[in-house]
Every structure is written in structure tokens, then in C-alpha cells.
Symmetry: C2
Subunit: 192 residues, 2 copies
Amino acid sequence: MSHMGYPRLMAVDRDHVLRSAAALLTRKSTATMDEVARAAGISRATLHRHFAGRDALVRALESLGIAECEAALAAARPDEGPASEAVRRLVHEIEPAAGLLAFLYTENQLFEGEEQNEGWARLDARIGALFRRGQASGEFRIDLTPAWLTEALYGLMASGAWAVAEGRVARKDFTHMIVELLLGGALRREES
Amino acid sequence: MSHMGYPRLMAVDRDHVLRSAAALLTRKSTATMDEVARAAGISRATLHRHFAGRDALVRALESLGIAECEAALAAARPDEGPASEAVRRLVHEIEPAAGLLAFLYTENQLFEGEEQNEGWARLDARIGALFRRGQASGEFRIDLTPAWLTEALYGLMASGAWAVAEGRVARKDFTHMIVELLLGGALRREES
DNA sequence: CTTTCTTGAGACATTAATGTCTCACATGGG
DNA sequence: CCCATGTGAGACATTAATGTCTCAAGAAAG
């Protein structure tokens, strides 16, 4: 056996390589293919056997990030209970992937004209729907558009990830800082 | 005359070149020196006469961004009146430079170990002081640290600039979106 | 043990951006 | 008119990352 198109052992390591790359590129977004390979404990040649090139690696990281976001979104049960609580759950669930998200978020700004992965569009739509639900139920103010709230969520996650990485914010406060700032703005104030 | 160390005419254009570069790099942060030169309407050789290299150009842009932020901060009179109004004035004043800020903000994430321009530290301190003043006066909640509020301000400005650039948010809503989201979170809610 | 397959190491060509230099040209001042 | 100077265009070397290839060694499966 093992004369199939795809090798046996590679599939096992692929995920490990991907996560090493995510961890490294989160810290140094310009890391070389060689650095990525070393970080994963493999040679550059083997890295190239996993991913045809840097583009392929980034696209794979994109898929990973999208998958993690979708998993977090599913775990957050966005259609259940108050929208504000759903947002809180979402940020909490997504926290472990925040560094990767920050990398992909800024990386996507470079793809100026090129089409973006449709996965992002789907995610944007689902997160936007959550904010829209909150507006419809009267929890969220309506003068901030769902599209902007979604964008702000990404931006705050990236800022939070960097602030933690540079020690300006304690890691344990990550979720609290983001949720409180975002919800405090998105939640309609009681008219006293 | 004009046998001095620095040429006469170059000083006139330098600012124009710098602003062209800012406008271009805001849209495409990976633009080539050649592209930057063409965008400014000069040749690559002349661009090199203005700025020794890409590093020098980015450092000059950094100085420009810092200068614009400091000018905006001064114009916003951060020590006058309610802190929330000062923040509103600050965002409004800084809006024209938001694109440049977004570029520099993400650019700085690459300088991993290297020391950052001390100008940023000074700005961080002054903006942080504004938030601290708001906390001391009871306007802002105290569970969000001034450092995080400062970071969040940068992040929201960058997100806002990108959202506008990609048409997800109307340019005229820029200041409103950012201020409302940031202040809504930073402002202590009335206990009803 | 033998075969099979992956891997690591290194050599090599390619590509893209950069930095440097020269030279002809135009312009403006004297 | 003549000189000085900034400029654009292009040639050229350099650098860094990338992609591709070969080959020997090691491990696993038979």
C-alpha cells in the first residue's frame, strides 16, 4: 500500500505545521518560508511538499482561521438568548484564535483588488446578522450599522491581540476588555 | 548661493512627495519605490535623492503621522471641558490622517523587537492621560485601562479607515461611528 | 533483509525590489 | 551667453526570498 496519490504521514503533520506557522506569523508577519519551516521543526523542502508556496500557506491559514471562527460562532449559539450575551460568548470562544485573526485581518488589506475568500463574506454575514438581531430586539442602537459593528469587532480583536503580545494588556483581561468596550458601545443606553 | 549642503528646490517638493506616498501606501501598503515615485510624479532616482531608501521613507512617514497626530491633539484641546467632548474633538481632528495612521499602525507590528519611535510613546502617554482624566472625573468607567482605550482608539481608527476605503462605511459617518462606539464603551453608563 | 517512501540538506536558477552610478537635458541665475 | 544644478532615464550590481531539483540517509512495512 501507500502508493496512493497522497502520502500517509504528511496528513498527520500538516495540522501541526499549520499551527506552528500561525503562531509564528502572528508574532512576525513577514517571517520567511525558512523561518516557518524551522519553527515547525521541518526543513524548507518538506514545507514546500506540504504547501506549494507562500501563497498556498497563507491561503491554508486563511481556511484555518475561517474554520476556527465558524467553530467559535457555532459554539457561541448566536441565535440563542440576548444578542449581547451571544456576542460575549462569541468573543470568548474566538479568543484563542485572536492572534491568527489579527494576522489575517491585516493580511487581507493587501489583497487590494483581488477577490477575497468567500468564507470571510459568509462569516461577515453571520456576524452581521447577530448584530442585526440585537438591533431588531432593541438591545443595540441602530445608528451604528451591523457592517461597522462587525468591522469594529475584527479591529478590536486585532488590537487586543497586539496589546496582549506587547504586554500592554494582561492576557486574562482580553475578553473582558473587548466585550465591554464593544458592547458598551453597541448596547443601547437606558434613557434615564 | 545655493552651494549649501541642502538644495533649494527639493525642500519645496518633499512635502508633496511625502503626502503622495502616504496616500498611495494607505491604499497599497506594499507599493514599490517605483510606484511611490510615479505616484508623486517624479522618477525613482529623484525619490532616492529625497529619501535614502524605503526605510528612510517610512521613517519620514512616521514623523509625518506623529506630527499630524500631535497637531490634532493640540487642536482638540484635550485638557478642556468634559473628557468625552475632548475625545470627540480628537477623533474629528485626526480623521484626515486616519489612512496614514492605519498604515503606520500595522507597519509598527512588524518592528517586533526593534525600538519604536519615541514619538509614539509620547503620543500614547498624552492620549492615555486624556482617558485617565476622564476616569478621574467620573466620566469614564475605570475597569477599562487607559492603555487599552488608547490601543482601541488606534484599532478603531484603522478599522474605520479600511471600512471606508472598501466602501463598507460611508466616509461622512467615519467620525460618528468611531466616536460613538468608543465613547459608548468608555463612557460610564448612568445607573438608572 | 529488502523494498519503499519521506525527509533533510544543499545546490541552483529565478525573480523582484533595491541601491548606485552615469549621462544627457532643461532650466534658472549670473 | 555660460555655468551650475536638479532631473529623468537607463544601465548595472546586489540582495533576499522563492521555487525547483537531486541525492543520500533513515524509518517503516513487507
